[in-house]
Symmetry: D2
């Protein structure tokens, strides 16, 4: 149940942090889509650990292998299975964790749920699981770009107290985002963010942040009313990312402070049809896209695994001090950028297919 996402464009993921590998089966991708490893690898490379001072030292080439679903560079309509072998495993780093649940990590809850857990690393709660999301999302994105010219771009909006960044959702590109290691196209802000991450890393600590994302070129009419609203499924997708703690679309929490007369997006004739003067709705009204860009933000807490000593309790309830070793990101947001884009692509592709079924 837990590892399947989507109704028609549906993915099933698998793999522990330190097992044989991680992978994903994409079922329901339309046939005859041109798809090659490079389409997927480029996003995987942005998610990969070991990219520099902003990320964990763990080295995983994360090279993708297509197991099925493709022939001669075209999708067959059958399930596309993708696999990455685990390489740089150091389960010994985690031996202390057998007895002491890491505060704010999933060690305790996984044990409570299953009565068992992987002896090393976070198992399915590990960031390594997100490889599968990014791989599947890249396939979704390829189709969305090919059939609709749709473009998804996420960037780091804030790190700790530093932000928000000054970015124009109408024009920002991934190239602009990738000009900085922290993945924030606002150069001045990016420098301050990177400084904040380095300081946290030096202190064997971690820091949180916020990611913004825009989806441009989404036609009006996607998203189902009532429970499978576009924004509701984006919220599920985003909150399902490890460390995510909040989601807002359009004006979000700040919009609650306004009156309707100041908040409403007035209609105006545009060359491509009826549009809105402002976009406080974030591209979605009543759960259905209105043709304006979808704009949303996702909050990420500071990573739970830190080297700093913590006064906590072990599984038996005895007081103890934990100094986590392992290799962990001091801040998840730069690597989470392609994950946010991937989850957005998966939601969009599924709702696009559902709308297409309607005829």
């Amino acid at each position: 149940m837990s590892s399947t996402f989507g109704k028609i464009f549906r993915i099933s993921t698998f793999g522990e942090s330190h097992g044989g590998g991680v992978g994903v089966v994409v079922d329901g991708c339309p046939p005859r889509l041109a798809l090659e490893a490079a389409d997927v690898q480029s996003q995987l490379d942005r998610r990969r650990p070991g990219q520099g001072p902003m990320t964990t030292d763990r080295k995983e080439p994360d090279t993708i292998e297509f197991l099925s679903g493709l022939e001669n560079g075209l999708t067959l309509g059958s399930p596309i299975a993708m696999l990455a072998r685990n390489r740089d495993q150091k389960p010994q780093d985690y031996s202390a964790l057998n007895d002491i649940p890491r505060p704010s990590h999933a060690d305790f809850t996984t044990q409570a749920k299953y009565g068992i857990r992987a002896s090393s690393g976070g198992g399915r709660a590990s960031a390594r699981e997100t490889w599968a999301r990014v791989a599947a999302g890249a396939v979704a994105e390829k189709w969305l770009a090919a059939d609709f010219g749709l473009r998804i771009v996420a960037w780091v909006d804030s790190v700790g107290e530093t932000g928000p960044a000054d970015v124009d959702p109408a024009t920002v590109t991934r190239e602009m985002v990738d000009t900085t290691a922290i993945r924030c196209p606002d150069q001045t802000m990016a420098k301050a963010m990177e400084k904040a991450v380095k300081a946290a890393r030096k202190d064997q600590d971690s820091v949180g942040g916020v990611i913004s994302c825009v989806c441009r070129g989404v036609p009006a009419g996607w998203g189902e009313p009532v429970f499978d609203k576009m924004d509701a499924l984006l919220a599920q997708g985003m909150l399902s990312i490890p460390a995510a703690k909040g989601f807002e679309i359009g004006s979000g929490f700040s919009g609650t402070r306004l009156r309707g007369s100041a908040h409403n997006d007035l209609f105006v004739q545009k060359k491509e049809g009826l549009g809105t003067l402002t976009n406080r709705s974030g591209g979605v009204q009543g759960g259905i896209t209105n043709g304006e860009p979808i704009v949303f933000r996702v909050a990420f807490k500071p990573p739970a695994t830190i080297g700093t000593a913590q006064q906590t309790a072990d599984f038996s309830g005895a007081e103890t001090t934990l100094e986590a070793r392992g290799r962990h990101d001091p801040c998840v947001v730069p690597r989470a950028v392609p994950i946010v884009e991937a989850m957005a692509a998966l939601v969009l592709a599924d709702l696009a297919l559902i709308q297409r079924a309607r005829g």
Copy 2:
């Protein structure tokens, strides 16, 4: 697709704002649960329009009729169908809307999606659809209370610029919440909020707000890792409520400003087992409940339908002025309190059953 929620405790809703009625089928409710109309009606009454100056004037007794699934006050395990007839319909109020899509409402997107829409009111995008959520949620809640002693309480945390309220999630009750018309147990803040709503109403305008919710008595181990995380499904459920624009759990957006050493919830032995000293996780770690109360917040935009004149465009793109008539809430949050509770109950019941399947 759009009107079904949940996997095992699954609901299907139906009904337009101004059609024959609204209703819901609850499939998967455990058998032999004591259930009577009063269990459901009490929450429906809190959602009902016409409760006073904080809400729309529309009068709907909203009396529930059970069509199936019950005998002698016990659930049979078969689908529980519940129906409320529509009474106070004034479709003529909406005749102007045939030509002019209301800004930030779902008129335009519904038309774009279906090529047709109900001639009066918002159809499925109407707040009237939420009757079905509250009815179904009350059934879920009855089961959660009976089997786990679980309690869900939501309240208004802010209205416009007014807030946040000073409320203790550990002790707040629905009785305390209902001492004020605005449904905020902080009496001082409540008065200011009510003033803000009345002012908006007088100006034929509307205003947004934020609702907080706590679920106490949730066992550790509920929620699926990866995509069906407890917080991810709560996020979907909450964002699926009309006018919702944001969701955060635990420390949420403000937690992104902290470092891990300040954010982590340290473990400590409690009399009922291992617990945490603080609850910045909001009761969920890695998508799975940890036994601490679930605490989250939902942002609601100001209602889109306002009496104030708006310079907008009609469906043909021609400029026009819209002064909506109809009867609408100046602020959704007081009536949204039981809706938030209902959606929380539906998510919790479904994830509880899925976990119970695991054995």
Copy 3:
């Protein structure tokens, strides 16, 4: 879980045999379909009890009420809820059943499953539940006819030892089927069948039978490979009908006796494209339609509820004699004809929409 069928064209049914009514919510029906009560009522009338000597005496007008999803005779794309109130209830007929489970009925298994059951009649196992299937199926069928010119016709192929009927699947119509009370267009065979039913009825006994069904005008390409094959979902749909015990498509069980060289359907150019000379595949190859008519058969056991005395045991295990009263069909097949058509329509509509999503 149990009362939902279909993935995109999805129905949820409810209602006990002797409760407030039976109904169904159809979610996912395409918008702008012309639909009126008569479209549905005509099939409901064919399913209705009290049609004469072939059926139970129970009188239920079964008049349909649309609760939602329609306006001005067109579907809105929102859930279509349909309801029929129960009228002719005689729960007292069933009081003996509180202690004695009817042999081969669902009394015992329902009690084993839920630890509770409706005190009268078969609850969800009653034939009355099939009202909802027929109502929903009629909506599906209307769409299939409108968009594809698709036609579904079922007929009684055998009753007890009497059969098979001599019927041409290429030309048979519902009008031809309805020329006989037993719903068999082979007049000679029909007379013998009706005699068999009357004899069983006179003996306070019951008798089984087989229904054949053809779906003409199905395009090639519907049905998903692997698990959601057209024939696999038809099999599920048919076996889900009360009293069904078998399903076969095309050559079915008799085809197992042949060699491949005698069984294969050779391709031949037809005016509408590539077709097959024979149709032992029953219109489905590899789970996907090939453009030839879908032809299948469904086995129905003799109804379990009979007036004849049966030496059996009560719930406590004590030996006893049961002479059921109640009002029951001596043979289900004439009334099951529209139910088979309905389930076929539901499967076809869902798989048609899924294929359309593929683009």
Copy 4:
């Protein structure tokens, strides 16, 4: 959509006949189940091609690799991914098939559905896809045996005109089944069956057959009323197996010839509770298990791919003669025995978990 089966015990399969491999992800398997490769390999070996004169010559060691979900011989509750690499590929055997659709195979329908198909072999319609079913089914079976002592045994009941076999469902074991190459425990009948297969093989032809299956030790109460009946989902599962054309449970088609008084299974007190004297219901009443063994039969057509020359048409409609090369089974039933067992296990495990959720 098409490659996922089950709601809680859910599998997703992937892999083409001649691609990188075949595999399956099992999500929802309960944690802490003892599971090792041998548990799965033993059933895979029974499905493997190249077992002798009854099967195709294709050699595939089909050795299983666990990619995830296990540690120290115990399931973790996370998805269990299993993979088998393809080895003995001879796509050149299929080059002729690019132009000529094999009669009664899925070449034509796959092309009609997707507008593309794998250039060699049947793609997803290949028998190779069933590797994944057997692997997943073996996991389900291990759990069912461990938690309920449940046993599933299938055997060949007939081949062509030869049959039915004389087998006692109450006592038959897999060891007895495997004493003959054709997998029929009735030794005399087995010899005749094997002769029929060899004759077909010699004639470059194929032959059909029927498989019987019994599930012993199933508790009363599994299976959902209405659409997800035990027999309905078994029917779907069985008809989803390549070449399956029919399904019947209990008395099936032959039971339609009886009257109710002769067909009903009378209740009788047994030492383990209320049982039935006969088992014409096949262990299922109203879609719910009654504690008696589940007994059903599955019809398999003769394999479509034969060496004998066939007068057919190519994709363009031109008449042509096809003499298939490739390597194919002359009769699917001996290798289908473990596939039938696997699909039964998957249905049972899923419905067991759904019932357990109910509490």
